[in-house]
């Protein structure tokens, strides 16, 4: 067990190191680092000064070590646009993205699980067919286009909900949140639904498959034979057993949702990390791009690490895997 944990931790560190190398090479070999690291407004004297100050006259491996050292101290350069440390600009946007991602996950669960249960319990129903067809569409439709259609109907045609921005925010624990105000909540609905669509379909299908698998099992027959009410059989005995894969996928999908919020945030002008990175790419604000990539990769490495370690702790079979087939 300890060996497995240590090996996994080492692996995570290796991945992060590999990422720093890739990002470093991308900045220093593909592009001209002087252009990337120095503001385009600088004159020749300023450039020469910065080249020396940044150590761009040093050999590449020394430059890499400097970059790594600075990155370890949370210093990934200063944004050209905001004139603040890049990492701080990103962290400022983090609550907006988290808020959106959590709202999307909640919607996906609230919609996906009951519909999946229904589809699993009535596999031949007409409504089930409708649900399954819609869920295939939910997988196929590109997120950004669904977002546009949502804006078109609910924002423009019906005028029920605001079509962009985050609305009013209120402070909680020193951070601004939109879901605390009525206006902010109205702004949150459309983007959250948009982001939730894919995962709602995923959870729906998982739940349905789980029900179909569990229903014919002996313990369900036994629960019924005991004379338990159908609501209890489904609500307790079946639900408990299908929730394991559903909870796993929710954990794994959280990272995906944060990544895909890039699209939704851009469509709905939601001021989170995703919109920031797209704006920064468009104006070539390289420190922000670098910081975003490093932060997201770190985020994913941590999620994967936590999931793997939880599995290792819970399921002994996983420990034996990976030693070859």
């Amino acid at each position: 067990m300890t060996a497995a944990v240590v090996r996994r931790l080492l692996q995570a560190v290796m991945v992060m190191l590999a990422m720093t190398v890739i990002v470093f090479i991308a900045i220093n070999v593909i592009g001209d680092p002087v252009d990337i690291l120095i503001s385009p407004d600088a004159d020749q004297i300023e450039r020469a000064r910065v080249v020396q100050a940044l150590g761009l006259d040093l050999p590449l491996w020394q430059q890499y070590l400097r970059f790594l050292w600075a990155a370890l101290h949370g210093d990934l350069g200063e944004s050209y646009v905001y004139n603040e440390p890049a990492i701080r600009v990103i962290l400022e946007r983090l609550p907006a993205t988290l808020e959106l991602a959590v709202a999307a996950i909640l919607i996906a669960i609230v919609v996906g699980v009951p519909l999946g249960l229904y589809a699993g319990l009535r596999p031949d129903g007409i409504l089930t067919r409708v649900i399954m067809t819609v869920s295939i569409l939910g997988f196929s439709l590109p997120t950004f286009w669904v977002g546009l259609v949502l804006i078109m109907f609910f924002g423009v045609q019906l005028g029920w909900l605001p079509s962009g921005g985050r609305g009013q925010t209120a402070e909680l624990f020193g951070v601004q949140w939109a879901f605390l105000t009525k206006d902010g909540l109205a702004h949150l609905i459309l983007p959250a639904v948009n982001l939730a669509l894919f995962d709602a379909c995923l959870i729906l299908r998982l739940t349905r498959a789980g029900v179909a698998e569990v229903l014919p099992l002996d313990f369900v027959k036994f629960a019924r034979a005991k004379g338990l009410k159908e609501t209890r059989v489904i609500g307790v005995h079946v639900s408990k057993n299908i929730m394991i894969p559903v909870v796993t996928i929710i954990g794994l999908e959280f990272g995906s949702i944060v990544a895909f919020s890039v699209v939704t945030e851009s469509v709905f002008s939601w001021p989170g990390m995703g919109k920031l990175i797209i704006d920064s790419i468009n104006v070539l604000d390289r420190p922000i791009i670098t910081a975003y990539l490093m932060a997201t990769v770190a985020f994913f490495v941590i999620i994967n690490l936590v999931v793997d370690l939880t599995y290792t702790a819970l399921d002994p079979r996983v420990r034996l895997q990976g030693e070859g087939p």
Partner: protein, 307 residues
């Protein structure tokens, strides 16, 4: 599948010759109405894309044919010269129908070429991993696992953030995003195929390794790869559209469907919805048609893979 289960005996068709198994597959494929719909739609879409210059009412790239007076007309309006814009026009006075058909060319081209290159690259590595084994296999599969643990859009974003816009860059990004899926599938199939007798026969004949890999092993691993490739074309088209919508994909001079949607986005809030809506519908029909065909192909080619 355990090793000792015998494969079903190959049907020997004496009268019909070698085409027979293929015909059986084709007949099975067309038994599903959904697959027929998908196939017809897809054929029509590919036909439109290929014949674009011959059938579109207007060449959307030819500035001489555009008139700024015709800009942002709703669907069904007439141009100054009497031409009808069935799907309206965009802000440059371009006929949306022509724009969409030309956009299909780019979307399909990017999707198909990236899926093809990714398949070549990924399948080769997957076969190699299964065939050689040992350290090579571990190294390749580690990278595959690692890459599949990151969402596709993040990887593509990372690549395009550094390489910049452009059709070739998009294709490259899509290949890098997709190869791992093929590698994993190819290895899985190859591990089963490797143990079969024809491989033993080939190895005992001292045929060069590359020949065993690509002439003996690869053709027998193809069916699952074809299924994946079909679905991946749809995914690639969708991802390309997303990237182009975000302004990271194809350049403005070669607009794909996603870029057309993005161009109309700014006019949507003023009620001019057609500029964004119809390219999106075209994108949707394309993706759904490919997925319908892909689903049926999976059922026909790989009965075990059914849900």
């Amino acid at each position: 599948m355990s090793v000792d289960t015998l494969p079903p005996p190959m049907p020997v068709e004496v009268e019909k010759g070698e085409e027979a198994p293929f015909r059986v597959l084709v007949r099975a494929f067309f038994r599903s109405p959904a697959a027929v719909t998908g196939f017809v739609l897809l054929t029509a879409i590919i036909g439109l894309a290929l014949l674009a210059p011959l059938i579109t009412p207007q060449n959307p790239y030819d500035l001489n044919q555009l008139d700024i007076m015709d800009s942002r007309l709703p669907p069904g309006s007439q141009s100054m010269t009497g031409m009808t814009f069935w799907l309206g026009t965009d802000d440059q006075g371009r006929d949306m129908l022509s724009g969409i058909i030309y956009g299909l060319r780019i979307s399909l081209g990017v999707g198909v070429s990236s899926a093809l290159f990714a398949a070549l690259f990924g399948a080769s590595l997957g076969l190699l991993a299964a065939y050689v084994g040992g350290r090579t296999e571990t190294a390749i599969m580690r990278i595959v696992d690692l890459q599949l643990s990151f969402p596709s859009i993040l990887v593509a974003l990372m690549i395009l953030a550094f390489l910049g816009k452009g059709i070739l860059n998009v294709v490259l990004a899509l290949v890098i995003v997709e190869w791992a899926t093929y590698a994993r599938a190819a290895r899985g199939t190859a591990l089963v195929e490797r143990r079969k007798e024809y491989m033993e026969a080939a190895e005992s004949l001292a045929i060069p390794r590359w020949r065993i890999l690509f002439v003996h092993l690869l053709p027998n691993c193809l069916p699952p790869l074809i299924v994946i490739a079909t679905v991946q074309v749809a995914r690639a088209i969708s991802l390309e559209a997303t990237l182009s919508f975000l302004g990271l994909g194809v350049p403005i001079t070669e607009p794909s469907l996603g870029l057309l949607v993005a161009n109309g986005y700014q006019y949507m809030l003023s009620g001019m919805t057609w500029i964004s809506f119809y390219p999106g519908v075209a994108l949707l029909i394309t993706v759904v048609a490919i997925n319908l065909v892909g689903d049926r192909l999976r059922d026909v080619l790989n009965p075990r893979g059914r849900e």
